[in-house]
């Protein structure tokens, strides 16, 4: 029996060590103090919100978020979460707001509230240069488009009548386009532009035609969170007035100001 006792003791020690880590594990979720404001995005939408190699999330959205937090005298926590569950997460109050290039739509307004618009853009088709597709009219029901689940672009694809493949984020859609698994990607035109400039093989891609429609992006808030929303709106108005928004836009989009219509 002595051997088993030694064994049990060793296991007990390992068990205790792991057990001690329990509170730290749970604290991972609770890092917010009263003075932190949490915004969420997909983390896979360059150049608006995307991850660096070190795991940090950066981008236009993140900078806007940081500036807002600053003006509200709070610390920013920006988290990445699956896009198709992001609204549910907000309603479950897992974060304070969605600042991840979310388009203001009637559907979404029914369940959450939006801030005033913070930038304007629109979906555009991206294809491989040698695809022979020169306009959206060239798309047939035989073509397959890659898009991200839960985006407004899903509807656009439906209207175009093509086959559709759904992905988690635009990093994936663009890779699939380069792989040849989809014939085109429907996403925000700026994302497309960014891909062409930044991706390893981005020069093989091209934007087709013009934006299919214009889209207005807002910051999403829980229906009950009127106070926070108004605070953020006030901050945004200041940021528009004193040129900060223009500055942030210029930084990310080569001088272009997407914060105005």
């Amino acid at each position: 029996m002595k051997n088993t006792n030694k064994l049990y003791r060793k296991l007990l020690i390992i068990g205790l060590m792991l057990l001690i880590s329990l509170p730290a594990l749970f604290a991972q979720g609770q890092q917010e103090s009263a003075n932190t404001i949490t915004f969420a995005g997909s983390g896979g939408y360059p150049p608006f919100n995307y991850m660096t190699e070190d795991g940090d999330i950066i981008g236009f959205d993140v900078d806007v978020a940081a500036e807002i937090a600053n003006r509200l005298d709070m610390e920013l926590k920006y988290v990445a979460t699956a896009w198709d569950g992001i609204v549910e997460g907000l309603r479950a109050k897992r974060y304070d707001g969605i600042l991840g290039s979310m388009g203001i739509t009637e559907e979404r307004e029914a369940v959450i509230d939006f801030s005033i618009p913070y930038y304007y853009s629109g979906p555009q088709l991206i294809v491989m240069k040698d695809s022979g597709i020169n306009s959206v009219e060239d798309l047939t029901s035989e073509h397959t488009l890659g898009l991200v689940t839960g985006t407004t672009f899903e509807n656009d694809a439906k209207v175009l009548g093509t086959k559709v493949k759904l992905y988690e984020d635009d990093n994936q859609t663009l890779i699939e386009l380069l792989n040849g698994r989809v014939d085109g990607v429907l996403t925000d035109r700026i994302v497309g532009l960014n891909a062409i400039n930044q991706l390893k093989e981005g020069n093989k891609l091209t934007l087709v035609g013009s934006v299919l429609r214009s889209e207005v992006m807002g910051i999403g808030f829980h229906e009950d969170d009127d106070e926070l929303r108004e605070q953020v709106n006030a901050a945004l108005r200041d940021m528009f007035a004193d040129g900060t928004m223009k500055e942030i836009s210029a930084k990310w989009f080569n001088g272009e100001d997407i914060t105005v219509e």
């Binding site: 051997n3 792991l18 190699e53």
Partner: protein, 222 residues
């Protein structure tokens, strides 16, 4: 040297960046299995109970949980319950892993308890022991020993299953792999790293289980 389209030099370079994530994987697995052991033992004893309603409850739990994917259970806990209670990613993962593995562990315990010769129970009861005492002193100690190999196996399965927690924002290995792959576009390299981490952990676990089984054999008196 680049016959392959991947940059394999990245692998040793970035390998230890995944250490934090690996720790999370270990932690949620460990606590998940711990919870699973408790639930499993209760469910196994319930299943063997002579009281119909307790046995039926156990059977229902085992049937439902073994019959549905872990992913479904995970989503129900993390997303589905939000109208009643919102549970953070890590606790959700641990609870889901616990409930899921509990069903399999229950069957492992049930099997090992039933494999103990009924004569043992008869001898214990003949001495005047209550059912509870007989289980506690005579049957369960023997059953636990027999349950060790299949439990070890379940532990390794649970470790790999923990990768599903990546779908609910738990910063474990799989999610780390996807994020790193996504931001660098070096999916193959990053997932190879993830694969190697899992391999190291499962191998270590297998080795530990093997040693434990050896030690138990030595003290095995039949």
């Amino acid at each position: 040297m680049n016959i392959l389209p991947w940059d394999l030099t990245v692998i040793p370079q970035r390998f230890f960046q995944f250490a934090d994530a690996a720790l999370y994987t270990l932690q949620i697995t460990f606590f998940g299995i711990l919870l699973g052991l408790i639930i499993g033992l209760v469910a196994a004893l319930g299943r063997l109970s002579k009281r119909q309603w307790i046995s039926a409850l156990s059977k229902a739990y085992i049937f439902l949980i073994r019959g549905t994917p872990l992913l479904v259970q995970l989503f129900i806990i993390y997303y589905g319950l939000t109208s009643i209670v919102t549970i953070d990613p890590i606790p959700s993962a641990i609870i889901a892993l616990g409930i899921h593995n509990g069903a399999y562990i229950a069957e492992i315990f049930r099997g090992s308890i039933q494999s103990i010769d009924y004569g043992q129970m008869e001898a214990a009861r003949s001495l005047g022991m209550t059912q509870g005492k007989a289980m506690q002193r005579i049957v369960l100690p023997q059953a636990f020993k027999r349950a060790v190999p299949p439990l070890g196996n379940q532990l390794i399965i649970a470790l790999k299953d923990s990768s599903l927690a990546s779908t609910i924002a738990v910063p474990e290995l799989m999610l780390k792999g996807r994020q790193m792959g996504s931001s660098s576009f070096m999916y193959m390299e990053m997932f190879l790293i993830v694969g190697i981490w899992y391999l190291i952990m499962t191998s270590l676990l297998s080795f530990v289980m093997h040693r434990i089984e050896q030690r138990l054999k030595v003290s095995d008196h039949d």
